[in-house]
């Protein structure tokens, strides 16, 4: 992005809207000049940084650090001073399993169910998401008429709120919904999709791909469009077959964007909550109960809420996210080196 000169906004309306802004900004100038005299120009940097840092400190850093303290306490009290220290008991409880592959053998069986569900979800959703968005990006990168229209088509659901997405699909997948109507017109048997454990799991995967695919398509498309066209022309001159050109030119050059996408998809898949909560509410049973919902319900929603346990679970999730991010950074570094050597 370049600091281009904004064009003159000649509209009288815009000017009028600026009047109160001018007044406010102008009114705070006098006291701030006084502050500036006291602090000096360098001190004003602190002044400008302060509001942001305060909000960051209170609402991001502080919770981040006291989260560890929470995970070491027990009881249902909300405020940290009222809670009893239990050491690593919460973690012990989370990990108390006879057989990790079988959630029913664990004390916190719902946690392990959520972990298992999330793992499957991540595996499926990430691979399908990458596949679909890559194919879409490749197709949009062809010599298309009205490319921006088609790009917009796939991007449209990205802006919808998760709640709206959940409701739209809940409405379509319900008993008298559009999907069953489609099956019915084809002479097939209707089905109560969201009451079926496997289908509702599949629905959460499908719906989350539907909702977010456009975003990743966009990043991949930007990567594809940055690949110089003359590389393909050179390859064609050399008699390279298109498939080979894809593997040898497109994919390696797209790698940086692809990596970004993989990690973003991964990180968001691990945290999946909103649309699933509205679509299936974690059900039927616990078949679509994912980690964030487990944390939310353990911490807030159930009768016997246990903030300590929720905090412990959220820290474990944080660890996974940090590892994924670091892997991205590592891979990115490696990719860069490769690029530099070439």
């Amino acid at each position: 992005m370049k600091a281009n000169v904004p064009r003159r906004s000649g509209s009288g309306l815009g000017e009028a809207a600026m009047v109160p802004v001018r007044l406010v900004m102008g009114a705070v100038d006098a006291p701030l000049r006084w502050v500036q005299r006291r602090l000096g120009i360098g001190g004003m940097a602190t002044f400008f940084l302060l509001p942001n840092m305060l909000i960051f400190g209170i609402f991001v850093l502080l919770p981040f650090f006291i989260n560890f303290a929470y995970s070491m306490t027990g009881g249902t009290a909300l405020f940290l001073p009222d809670r009893t220290f239990v050491g690593t008991e919460q973690y012990a409880r989370l990990f108390d399993c006879v057989n990790y592959a079988d959630p029913n053998s664990c004390t916190e069986d719902t946690f392990w169910t959520a972990v298992g569900n999330t793992a499957w979800f991540v595996l499926l959703q990430v691979s399908l998401m990458i596949l679909f968005s890559l194919v879409t990006a490749l197709i949009l990168n062809r010599d298309l008429m009205a490319r921006s229209f088609w790009r917009a088509v796939f991007f449209f659901p990205v802006l919808l709120s998760p709640v709206v997405v959940g409701l739209i699909w809940k409405w379509i997948l319900q008993r008298q919904g559009l999907l069953n109507f489609g099956l019915y017109s084809l002479g097939l048997e209707p089905h109560t999709w969201l009451n079926d454990r496997n289908w509702s799991f599949a629905a959460t995967v499908g719906v989350s791909i539907w909702a977010h695919m456009g975003f990743y398509t966009l990043i991949l498309l930007a990567g594809l469009q940055a690949i110089p066209k003359d590389l393909y022309e050179a390859a064609e001159m050399d008699g390279t077959r298109p498939a080979r050109a894809f593997w040898r030119i497109t994919l390696p050059l797209l790698m940086p964007n692809l990596l970004v996408v993989v990690v973003l998809v991964l990180i968001r898949a691990v945290q999946i909550f909103d649309e699933v909560y509205v679509l299936t509410g974690g059900g039927p049973g616990t078949s679509t109960l994912y980690l964030t919902q487990y944390i939310y319900e353990t911490g807030f929603a159930t009768q016997l809420r246990n903030p300590g346990l929720a905090a412990a679970a959220s820290i474990l999730m944080g660890v996974v996210l940090v590892i994924l991010t670091l892997v991205q950074l590592g891979l990115g570094r490696k990719g860069e080196n490769k690029g530099a050597r070439k």
Binding site: M1, A3, N4, D29, Q36, G42, T46, F48, N52, M53, I55, F56, F59, V60, P63, F64, N67, Y70, L78, R142, L144, M145, S148, W150, A152, V153, F155, F156, V158, L159, L160, S161, V163, V164, L167, I168, W169, W171, I172, Q176, L178, F181, Y184, L218, I219, A222, Q271, F273, D274, V278, L291, I295, F300, A311, S314, I315, M317, G318, L321, V322
Partner: protein, 350 residues
């Protein structure tokens, strides 16, 4: 039309259809239906009366069966077009139905009851938009409140986001001070601390500040977005430092430099951030769900999800409310889509 034809018949090679042409065509047209179809279906359904919603098979447009008031019957009766055994057709009103046989009368002659096999009749239907789906939530439910809460949260949070983040970005791009790199790293590191990881302690902090069940409790934790600081800073770095020196020589205070020089010149980046912030805050769900437990404080998203989770879901209202909830985002999509897509492609920001 010829442009359309040109699109449809655009091919990879000059000689015939390559398989990739077919895949492209299928994928795009399929995408068009899959991506827009559900939303269109939602909007269509939102105009249907509860009776029409319960119908199976459903229709795409909202139809209702016509009714007629017939002498001797209290309630209006449904009208059907009946094919008589002699092949002629007539419009009759249904009085009662027993099994596959319906007792029907002609509206003009309410005394003659005719027995008709239900396979030989079709309902007389007209298109009718159940606009009450939209008007009633506004009058009978807290919908206006939710709408107002959502607007308040979105607008306030966006304004604060713009001011607070642009101030921080200004400090981080145009001043030399100790700890600048540290502050920058700290801000970027918080990208790795998503809500789902800190919701328990954040909830306690918000409660301790007395912001539980308070819209400010929804707003404040969201306004210092690292991405916001980041894109604004990147943009401000492209503004020449000499401009600031010139302003200092012109006796401008630092605050004036910020709002009379830097802010106007950062307008394009501010616009991108504003659009994103509006979409983010409008769509926020999990955090408002945690912080707001009093009905009159719900935002649209929370209100919708709570209503749709009730045992007796009133789909006709839910669908209409969903459409209303979608409207701002769809407007953003229609008018600012280009802005957003280039923003994402440039920064990988969501």
């Amino acid at each position: 039309m010829s442009r359309l034809a040109e699109f449809i018949f655009r091919r990879r090679g000059r000689n015939g259809w390559h398989w990739t042409d077919i895949v492209t065509w299928l994928w795009l047209v399929g995408g068009l239906f899959i991506m827009f179809g559900p939303a269109v279906w939602l909007v269509g359904s939102s105009f249907k009366s509860p009776a029409a919603l319960a119908e199976f098979p459903p229709t795409i447009m909202p139809y209702v069966t016509q009714k007629a008031t017939v002498e001797g019957y209290d309630k209006p009766l449904d009208l059907y077009e009946v094919t008589r055994p002699d092949g002629s057709k007539a419009v009759l009103a249904e009085v009662r139905r027993i099994g596959i046989v319906a007792q029907m009368v002609a509206p003009e002659k309410p005394t003659d009851i005719v027995k008709v096999n239900i396979a030989e009749r079709t309902p007389v239907r007209t298109m009718s938009f159940a606009t009450t789906n939209y008007t009633e939530p506004f009058t009978h439910f807290d919908f206006v409140r939710y709408l107002w809460n959502s607007v308040f949260v979105t607008v306030t949070a966006t304004l604060i986001t713009l001011i607070v983040n642009s101030m921080a970005a200004f400090a981080l791009s145009k001043y030399e001070f100790r700890g600048r790199t540290f502050a920058m790293l700290l801000i970027l590191a918080t990208l790795m601390v998503p809500l789902s990881v800190i919701m328990v302690p954040l909830y306690s902090i918000v409660s301790a500040l007395g912001l539980f069940n308070n819209l400010w409790g929804v707003i404040l934790p969201t306004v210092a977005t690292p991405t916001g600081v980041f894109i604004l800073r990147q943009y401000m770095l492209t503004i020449p430092d000499e401009l600031i020196d010139a302003a200092r020589m012109d006796k401008a205070s630092e605050w004036q430099i910020y709002w009379r020089i830097i802010l106007p010149l950062t307008a394009p980046a501010l616009a991108v951030l504003a659009i994103f912030s509006v979409v983010w805050r409008w769509n926020d769900f999990l955090w408002p769900l945690i912080v707001l437990s009093r009905k009159e404080l719900y935002t649209l998203q929370v209100g919708l999800s709570i209503y749709s989770g009730e045992l007796n879901v009133q789909w006709h209202f839910i669908l209409a409310m969903t459409v209303v909830t979608m409207i701002p985002v769809v407007l953003v999509f229609i008018f600012l889509q280009r802005f957003i897509t280039t923003g994402i492609a440039g920064t990988g920001l969501k």
